[in-house]
Amino acid sequence: MYGVLDISVSGMVAQRVRMDTIAANLANRDTILDAEGNPNPFRRRSVIFTPGDPDATSDRARQLGVHVSAIEEDQGDFRKVWDPDSPYARPVGTPDAGYVYFPNVDSVTENINAVDAVRAYEANVAAAEATKSMLAQALRLIA
């Protein structure tokens, strides 16, 4: 009885974490300084999904479902903006001198991922509703 919704809820949780990551990426699209004020652009983060759910309550449910196994930073190149007069431009003598590094976050990609995450979340909600309906139906066998 307990844990019948584990599979679908794990899917919902995973998609929500993905949405949170996307929201964080979009919010930090122009963050080029870190907390100490040094030029350290925000790196785009992405979630890694893995089948299985270690937080599930039963052994069987631990093999089914999905969970976020890691949130890793995208090691791709930063976005470069030519601005040699900016205090945060790359110094002369370094590669990309005169350019300012901006986070490697692309709005279009993030928006498309957001749409996909919402769609998957709704699908998981539908699956959870179907599970509840099946349980209610089975209970009516004796009621």
């Binding site: 599979i7 899917g11 999904f49 699956a127």
Partner: protein, 144 residues
């Protein structure tokens, strides 16, 4: 004794197997839905026609053996194994969709269709099961 004559009459064994199959398959479909975005995950299903064919053979054997009375011996298929706790599924039928860039060949629309159809089959079988049991109870209680 005669108790198994009551619990195995008519269409009850077939309905029982269908209800168990539909319930286990729902878990499988929910697992596929939860892993819609998981890279390197290929959703797998069990073959419904395979299960129904095996069930049809068992029904025919039962009809030939005892004119439709007695227990149903369902040996299962490669993917569906009867155990003491019901049925265990071993999904082997892959999805036939294109492989996306994350090496996941999900097909959201077909998966949702499978889920809804499976749910309807579960409902139909469990309603019919309830109906047959009610009839038996009416006969036993002698109250129509």
């Amino acid at each position: 004794m005669f108790i198994s004559g009551i619990t195995d009459t008519g269409a009850l064994p077939v309905l029982e197997k269908t209800v168990q199959f539909a319930a286990r398959r729902h878990e499988l479909i929910a697992h596929n839905i939860a892993n819609l975005s998981t890279p390197n995950f290929q959703p797998r299903d069990v073959s419904v026609t395979g299960f129904q064919a095996a069930l049809a053979e068992a029904v025919d054997r039962r009809r030939a053996r005892a004119a439709g009375r007695g227990p149903l011996d369902f040996p299962g298929t490669r993917e569906v194994r009867p155990t003491a706790q019901g049925l265990r599924l071993r999904p082997m039928s892959p999805s036939h969709n294109v492989l996306f860039h994350d090496r996941n060949n999900r097909d959201l629309e077909r998966t949702m269709q499978d889920m809804v159809e499976n749910l309807t089959a579960f409902r139909a079988a469990s309603d019919l099961l309830k109906n047959r049991m009610d009839l038996l109870n009416a006969a036993i209680r002698e109250r129509p």
